[in-house]
């Protein structure tokens, strides 16, 4: 029982990080129907920003965590904007597959460029301690404990998710985003500036991934190499599909399912933990092809 609950807690922790990345995938897919492979590398840039900015921020502001995460979100948001502007915008009205290959190109470019010695370098880095890690034992005889890092991960991601729901549902630009994702040509006839909406989706998604990167660094305490984004990014993408790609609550639900199932499977066999995500996704897609919360859109002739 204790073991079970502990794995559940671990799953929620990793699920929170996946959720932040998955939101970016699902927002971009909902609006431009593009699987943005480079999103995983934005997550990586966010994590490295934490590494480089934390000492500076600690000197200026005293505390490091909040200024670092805000600065990293601004930088990754800017990166998302530049990426869309330079690489995806010229291809917007061409075949979707060419945009996808470009996304792959951007992803390979970011990974290898960041691995250059004068950028982030290819070596292992120890992530600075943004907060002092402490284990808080839970009363009772199950031997459970929760670390304050976990509380921070869950707290920050829930806060950002609530902020995103407010943004998408209550603000004007959020309404425009929903309109564009529903029907792009009609939305543009209604006077919505598509370029602004698409840029916003990229900026917001990238900023969330940046925050995810900081949380990842804080949780694991290390950055392996600029290629570290690939597998968390892949898991988050799968989580977004699992929940129904293009659907924001779906991405969060998918991410927690993914995180928890991965935590349980990893406690059995580490290779199984890796593969379980894909098995779950195939199983769910066979039953509900549009994902857990996705709407089925009938094809019109």
């Amino acid at each position: 029982m204790g073991q079970f609950l502990q794995q559940l807690i671990n799953g929620i922790q990793i699920g929170s990080i996946y959720a932040l990345i998955a939101l970016g995938y699902t927002m971009v897919y909902g609006i431009v129907k593009l699987i943005n492979f480079a999103h995983a590398d934005i997550f990586m840039v966010g994590a490295y920003m934490g590494f480089f900015l934390a000492p500076v921020m600690a000197k200026i502001f005293g505390g490091a965590f909040i200024p670092t995460i805000i600065a990293a979100m601004l930088i990754t948001g800017l990166l998302g904007f530049v990426m869309e502007k330079l690489a995806y915008r010229p291809l917007r009205y061409k075949s979707r597959l060419s945009a996808l290959i470009t996304a792959l190109g951007v992803s390979i470019f970011l990974e290898n460029f960041c691995a250059m010695p004068f950028v982030f370098g290819p070596t292992f880095r120890k992530f600075p301690d943004l907060i002092v890690a402490k284990n808080i034992p839970i009363p009772g005889n199950l031997g459970l404990s929760i670390s304050n890092v976990l509380l921070l991960d869950v707290g920050v991601s829930v806060f950002l998710m609530v902020l995103l729901f407010w943004f998408v549902n209550k603000t004007l630009i959020g309404k425009q985003m929903r309109a564009v994702s529903f029907d792009k040509p009609t939305a543009s006839l209604m006077g919505i500036n598509i370029d602004v909406v698409i840029s916003t989706a990229f900026i917001v998604g990238a900023a969330l991934a940046g925050a995810g990167g900081i949380l990842y660094g804080t949780t694991y305490g290390m950055l392996a190499s600029p290629f570290l984004g690939i597998w968390p990014g892949m898991k988050a993408f799968i989580a977004a599909v699992l929940g129904g790609i293009g659907n924001i609550p779906g991405a969060v639900l998918g991410a927690y399912i993914m995180g928890i199932s991965e935590a349980f499977a990893t406690s059995v066999n580490s290779n199984l933990g890796y593969g379980i995500a894909f098995a779950i996704l195939i199983g769910i897609l066979l039953i509900r092809p549009s994902g857990l919360l996705g709407k089925f859109v009938p094809e019109k002739v």
């Binding site: 690489a87 470009t102 290898n112 691995a115 599909v241 199984l272 195939i282 094809e299």
Partner: protein, 327 residues
């Protein structure tokens, strides 16, 4: 010259023999060392992989992004047959080569079976499901290999006899591309293009679209499996990580850079993009920065790929035969 123009098949055969002879002579002369020969063999395998991927992605308009998974099935099946079950390592070539051929064909059939399992449920659905399911299948196959101890698990499978030579790759690449080309120029090929251009219209003209899509997918997986077998017997050591999702993405890049809607494009893409990183070796780590930039710029300024819709003339069916066929 007029004779060669009139008999293009003969001209093409002569051209291939010449290319082979030139590579051999350069190898003997010491200009092309073993490393370059290995690179040329990899180009041949990549061509078959890319052309078979192009059948699904370019000509049928579906979107498969897990081709390396089928390659893994073929590679492991054939390697198990030659290495573990038949102990072909010590056999003489007269026994070894038939076993090798049986092994790579068995690998192809296993991959085709895996292709059926993946394709049959997901090709009924429209949209990006095939993409996501193939991606997952690719990683799932890799996970299964990682946890199966008989297949070497995370240690990889070594000690595979080296059956793949330049000649094997040459014959294999030419035979596979010719088979796939003939399929594409048959009535099945025309149905595939109809499905790509408009699935609803294709269905209305009486094409069983699901059956056609599943068949093409299985056919393509078969060639991926056979390429995997040839690949395993070239490297002599295979590891599950050789066949990760990243490998599938490599083939997608080759295909779309070359031109997905053209067989010639699927040949040009892997040739250029297998050799390009090697030619840029002097740039050291910069080459992996420049390589994706070339990719992005090609996509932005020539979206349809290098070849576009064009084909090399030796790929097309000669005019004389075409007239006879329509007459």
């Amino acid at each position: 010259m007029t004779f060669l123009r009139a008999h293009r098949t003969i001209a093409t055969v002569i051209a291939f023999v010449l290319v082979y002879a030139i590579i051999k002579v350069l190898n003997r002369a010491g200009i092309l060392n073993a490393y370059y020969i290995q690179l040329i063999m990899l180009v041949g395998i990549n061509i078959v992989m890319t052309v078979s991927l192009g059948m699904v992605n370019g000509f049928t308009g579906q979107f498969s992004i897990g081709h390396a998974g089928f390659m893994a099935v073929g590679a492991y099946t054939s390697a198990m047959i030659t290495t573990v079950w038949l102990h072909a390592t010590t056999a003489n070539p007269w026994v070894g080569y038939p076993v090798f051929i049986v092994a790579i064909l068995a690998g192809g059939l296993m991959a085709a079976g895996a292709g059926y399992l993946v394709g049959a449920p997901s090709l009924r659905l429209k949209g990006d499901y095939l993409a996501i399911v193939t991606l997952c299948a690719n990683e799932l196959i890799r996970t299964v290999i990682r946890v199966t101890d008989v297949l070497g698990g995370p240690r990889g499978l070594g000690g595979i006899p080296k059956f793949t030579t330049l000649e094997v790759v040459f014959v294999f690449a030419i035979v596979s591309v010719v088979l796939m080309r003939n399929y594409l120029f048959s009535s099945h090929g025309r149905s595939m293009k109809a499905i790509r251009d408009s699935e609803i219209a294709a269905e209305a003209t009486g094409i069983n679209t699901t059956k056609q899509k599943v068949f093409v997918f299985v056919f393509s997986a078969f060639f991926a499996g056979v390429s995997g077998g040839v690949f395993a017997h070239l490297l002599q050591f295979i590891h599950p990580d050789n066949f990760s999702f990243m490998k599938s993405l490599e083939y997608l890049i080759y295909l779309y850079i070359g031109g997905a809607e053209s067989i010639s494009g699927a040949i040009v893409g892997p040739v250029i993009f297998t050799l390009l990183p090697e030619l840029m070796r002097s740039l050291q780590s910069w080459r992996m920065v420049i390589y994706p930039l070339i990719l992005i710029l090609t996509m932005i300024f020539r979206t349809e790929g290098i070849m576009g819709l064009k084909e090399f003339s030796f790929i097309l069916i000669p005019q004389r035969q075409r007239k006879e066929a329509t007459a």
